[in-house]
């Protein structure tokens, strides 16, 4: 390995590790939304509790553009190195803090308020991190490998999700030898472990980043006294730069955000909430898909150095627009419990329990059924037993914990892989694309804002808006997909029409 290449790998390693940890910190909150809802929000209405958490989740995304402005400005004024060190400290502190906040039952409304504030801090820190890491790596990379080297930064978001899912699954199953007890312990206090672990990871990353030197392009600008005095004004009040910020947002990051969040988050939410897939299966499917798809970030980043960034991103968006509904329809059809109920089913297990209330007794029967294709599901029936022993079925049975057979499991993992492959196409080349669009002295600010509006607002709100659409238009379980499809389609057309496929050979200016 050439000494020059050895240097760039150290830079990529140090930048990527910190960014990966920031994504990990950010995702564990989203992944544990239901558990956190039980801990920090009033339990009287579980839907309200979950919505509150989702709103908090959204708040985490919405403050990201503000983080982009605050830290982008700092990064252009004092330098890349110290700015993305600061974001790491903020993120680590906020995550650790969430792990320590006592529950609602102990400190009342102070609990959700503190959690909300810490979550906002997380969003703010994340808003400043990505632009710094991408800029830092790009400013070290040779022109003909800019897409390849920056694509390593692009893998961190997906790997952060992967690590968060892995840590959550390991903790959930590792707290007791009895699986049921382990899950109960996890829901009670074990969920704090993934948050607390973060402080160790952040500590290591801060140590590594402290040893890094400033970006050479920025250091040169600084030594020549050519850094920007007012990066916000130069980025957004000058037409020449503002038009490029708008083009980056509407022609690239907006579509990239929805493709990303549909592939990695809405897919998981759909499998769990619409298909009623078993908790562990839905997560392991995502883990397998991530394992096989992640290398493609680098493949497409590298390919963009040869054929340009534009068309790879556009094809990724087109694939999403055309294939989302067919793919999600397969998920829905293959887990159609109502159809299975028409078949001969085998009872695998049945448990009954009764709960005595003041005026009545509730009898809950959980039956695990298996269909002819070895797919299982659990039916939960709640009956009311009145004093004269009359049993009345109160509500319709609820079907849950759908467990797939091996071939369907592999098919689902392959389809989620495909969804993440689209993500790698739009996301792999985007750091290099954004870096090349803006001048060094206002690069951090100018690229961070469109990235975080595209990802944070358009992308981050995808699961929320898609779920909301299914509650408004209840007849179509796939209606939520129209949001990412329409946004990606508009972005694809703008990108195809206005973006240049030319690779900028010189980012030193």
């Amino acid at each position: 390995m050439k000494p020059q290449n050895k240097g760039i790998w150290k830079i990529i390693g140090a930048s990527s590790l910190g960014t990966l940890i920031e994504w990990y910190d950010f995702y564990i909150f989203g992944s544990l939304a239901t558990v956190i809802a039980n801990q920090f929000f009033p339990k009287t209405n579980p839907t309200a509790a979950l919505l509150s958490t989702l709103a908090t989740f959204a708040a985490g995304f919405i403050v990201r553009p503000f983080g982009a402005l605050v830290f982008g400005r700092l990064g252009d004024m004092i330098g890349r190195k110290y700015t993305f060190l600061l974001t790491l400290v903020l993120m680590g502190g906020a995550t650790f803090g969430i792990g320590l906040v006592p529950g609602y039952e102990k400190i009342g409304f102070a609990a959700p308020i503190i959690v909300l504030l810490l979550r906002l801090l997380q969003g703010l820190a994340l808003g400043g991190e990505y632009g710094g890491a991408a800029t830092y790596v790009a400013e070290h990379a040779p022109a003909d490998k800019r897409g390849y080297f920056t694509s390593w930064i692009q893998t961190t978001a997906t790997l952060g999700l992967f690590v968060s899912l892995g840590v959550i699954l390991l903790t959930r199953h590792g707290l007791d030898s009895d699986p049921a007890k382990s899950i109960a312990k996890f829901n009670d206090w074990g969920w704090r472990i993934p948050f607390l672990v973060s402080i160790l990871l952040v500590g290591v990353s801060i140590y590594i980043r402290l040893k890094m030197s400033e970006s050479p392009l920025y250091a040169k600008l600084k030594s020549e006294g050519k850094t920007s005095v007012n990066p916000l004004k130069e980025s957004f009040a000058h037409k020449g730069n503002l038009k490029m910020v708008l083009l980056a947002l509407f022609g690239a990051t907006m579509g990239q955000g929805v493709i990303w969040y549909t592939g990695q988050f809405y897919a998981q939410s759909f499998l769990e909430n619409v298909c009623k897939l078993d908790f562990d299966q839905s997560r392991t499917i995502l883990i397998w898909a991530i394992v096989f798809a992640t290398p493609f970030f680098v493949v497409f980043g590298s390919l963009s150095d040869k054929i340009g960034r534009k068309w790879i991103m556009i094809i990724g968006m087109l694939a999403g627009v055309l294939l989302y509904r067919p793919i999600f329809n397969i998920f829905k059809q293959d887990t159609n419990v109502k159809e299975w109920l028409q078949q001969d089913l085998t009872v695998v297990k049945q448990d009954s329990s009764t709960t005595v209330l003041t005026d009545k007794t509730l009898a809950v029967t959980k039956t695990v059924f298996q269909n002819q294709a070895n797919m299982q599901f659990t039916e939960i029936k709640t009956d009311t037993l009145h004093t004269n022993n009359i049993r009345i079925a109160d509500t319709k049975p609820v079907y849950t914990a759908v467990t797939l057979n091996t071939s369907t499991y592999i098919k689902f993992a392959a389809l989620v892989f495909l969804l993440i492959l689209f993500v790698t196409m739009v996301y792999g080349p985007i750091a290099a694309f954004l870096v090349e669009l803006f001048p060094t002295k206002i690069r951090y600010t100018s690229m961070s804002l469109p990235y975080h509006i595209g990802n944070g607002v358009f992308g981050g709100l995808t699961p929320f808006i898609a779920t909301l659409l299914t509650t408004i238009y209840t007849n179509d379980a796939l209606v939520g997909l129209w949001y990412p499809i329409i946004v990606a389609a508009v972005c694809m057309i703008i990108g195809a029409l206005y973006i240049n496929n030319k690779i900028d050979p010189n980012v030193n200016d």
Binding site: A55, G240, L242, K243, M244, F250, T440, I494, Y498, N506
Partner: protein, 81 residues
């Protein structure tokens, strides 16, 4: 191609107010049908966040219509000037 870019600018200009109208009318209808705090908060967030973006879309369309994207900058001097 430049003509197409410019004419498409009209579409982007129209898309901004259309998005605002759709957003606000859906927000009002949803809040009326479920007048609870959660509904109000979530729709208020959507309106506050997406309206500035819709304004950005109008500006983008205006720039496109005026031919600002006929030629994209090839160096940073063109961007900052």
């Amino acid at each position: 191609m430049n003509k197409l870019k410019r004419y498409a600018g009209i579409l982007w200009i129209v898309l901004g107010p259309l998005t605002c109208y759709f957003l606000i009318s859906t927000a009002i209808a949803e809040i009326k049908s479920k007048p609870v705090i959660d509904t109000k908060i979530q729709w208020a967030v959507f309106v506050i966040v997406f309206i500035p973006i819709a304004i950005g879309m109008i500006i983008f369309g205006w720039y496109a219509l005026k031919g600002e994207y006929d030629h994209l900058p090839e160096n940073s001097d063109e961007v900052t000037d």
